[in-house]
Assembly symmetry: C2
Homo-oligomer: 302 residues x 2
């Protein structure tokens, strides 16, 4: 007989989280492994890390991957952070002895599922999750069901156009939400701004150091977070008019800076979203430490 | 025993369509009545028009209203074209003897349901409908179910922000899709443009006359439709990244001008939408004559 325990894997560009997840979405054990780009080498590392959890008795393996995922084939079509193209991750994991069934999903979609079942305890009907990290991802739980779209790529909320003439995004488009709020873009903008002000940018600029600089009152850093909040507010107002959700959840490392960017975001939402759906929505922030992605990945297994 | 016939009502700002709709979404009989703003007077008119259809035997009444609708209460919260605020349309229709149950829905949401069941014969899983008329409405069929959101106002696709500094929309926001593509805004832009070019605008300017002018090669009219297509393409690219739909359907009077605005829209989609969802979507145009709204309203009755 199968246990109520599942294996969750959250596959990011720098770190992989593995978790043994109990029946109610409780993390029983959590490990982190550094990402290596070769899929076979990576899977051997994951196998060594997960081995002590007695894989045979588990209900299955859920994997969240930052990128374009085909959940039907269980393959990664394209994951820019991992430099992966057409990697049949499900069959590789199966061959390595990971417990079946193996379900593969976009990482932010998995995080939305984790938030729905875990932290939010199913007390939401229509949930939008934005994962704010190096990039900006999104996941959708609509009418209490995970929404994946026609080829599994729904919820690319970081790639809503916020301003058609805005800064260039990694995807090739201009003015995506991610081009204002993604960690990599925050740092890029700050460097350009310091150059413009004829100041030397420190080599170790990160979203966190930019958060601290703004806290200390640095005007360029404050302008940066205001601009990020402005773009977020425009994107969220569109999402509120489109989805009429009851909950919008911000998570991921950059979400920790919410005291600096949410005021500007709220101003744009008040200006741009319709009254009825605006009144119906709660905007919440969960810290990254909640492990929504790895929990959600595990809970993809029925 | 109840028959398989339903009554559909599509309540617009200038005209009301009524239809007797058969089992497979076939329109058996169709009538049009001019809109009057007083709800009681309007309902008396509708009653007189529908009376010959022997209302008693029908399965129920479905109503689509252009505006903010509460489907649970069966009330119109706000319908700017009708100048209605908090009108309990369901109970008014019931008191007037319209067949129960009465279901009230946003008109574009009803149109999406009509397209799904009627013209598209359920050969779609994830469908986005844009109704292009005086304003721009939207309806969503996701995973083969009508998506209404948390308070029934989902799908306000005309009020996605396309350009945050763009023209003022009727909703008070700047740069909404509707502010570029809504009939009322097309005419307004054309008048302003003619003034700028020191030409006198004809009094009877309509989206159709602007369509004809562009067909004749008028440069201002051509610029107008290009700009509308540009805005539509930005909005659709965001919707493709958000929903990963298999079908996007444009309908309504202004959709008839598609040969003039779709090329620019397709260019923006190619620039801004992700490859996988872009390849998965079909963009279709249905003429207004398909009566999607009134059919969909009727088919809201189970």
């Amino acid at each position: 007989m199968k246990s109520g325990y599942r294996l969750g894997i959250d596959l990011g560009g720098t770190l992989v989280k593995l978790a043994l997840v109990g029946p109610a979405g409780r993390v029983v054990s959590l490990k982190e492994v550094e990402t290596v780009l070769n899929p076979r080498d990576l899977i051997s590392r994951l196998k060594r890390a997960a081995e002590p959890w007695r894989l045979k008795g588990l209900r299955g393996t859920g994997v969240g991957v930052a990128g374009d995922v085909d959940p039907v084939k269980g393959a990664v079509r394209f994951a820019p952070n991992l430099k992966w193209k057409n990697v049949p991750i499900r069959s590789l994991l199966r061959k390595a002895g990971f417990p079946a069934p193996v379900h593969v999903e976009n990482d932010a979609t998995a995080a939305a599922w984790g938030a729905y079942h875990g932290e939010l305890k199913k007390r939401t009907e229509n949930l939008i999750v934005l994962t704010l990290g190096t990039g900006v991802g999104g996941g959708l739980v609509l009418d209490r069901r995970l929404y994946r779209g026609s080829t599994g790529t729904a919820g690319e909320l970081g790639h809503i156009t916020v301003d058609p003439g805005g800064p260039l995004c990694g995807c090739g488009n201009r003015g995506c939400l991610e081009a204002y709020l993604g960690g990599i873009h925050l740092v890029r903008w700050a460097k350009a701004e310091m150059l413009r002000r004829k100041r030397k940018a420190p080599a170790d600029l990160t979203p966190f150091s930019l958060f601290q600089a703004a806290r200390r009152g640095d005007p360029a850093a404050r302008a940066l977070w205001n601009r990020a909040g402005w773009a977020l507010g425009i994107g969220l107002a569109s999402l509120i008019n489109i989805f009429n959700p009851d909950t919008i959840l911000l998570t991921g490392g950059v979400a920790g800076a919410h005291p600096l960017f949410l005021p500007a975001a709220r101003r744009e939402i008040a200006k741009r979203a319709f009254l009825t759906p605006r009144r119906a929505v709660f905007l919440r922030v969960f810290p990254q430490s909640k492990n929504l992605g790895v929990i959600g990945a595990a809970l993809l297994i029925p």
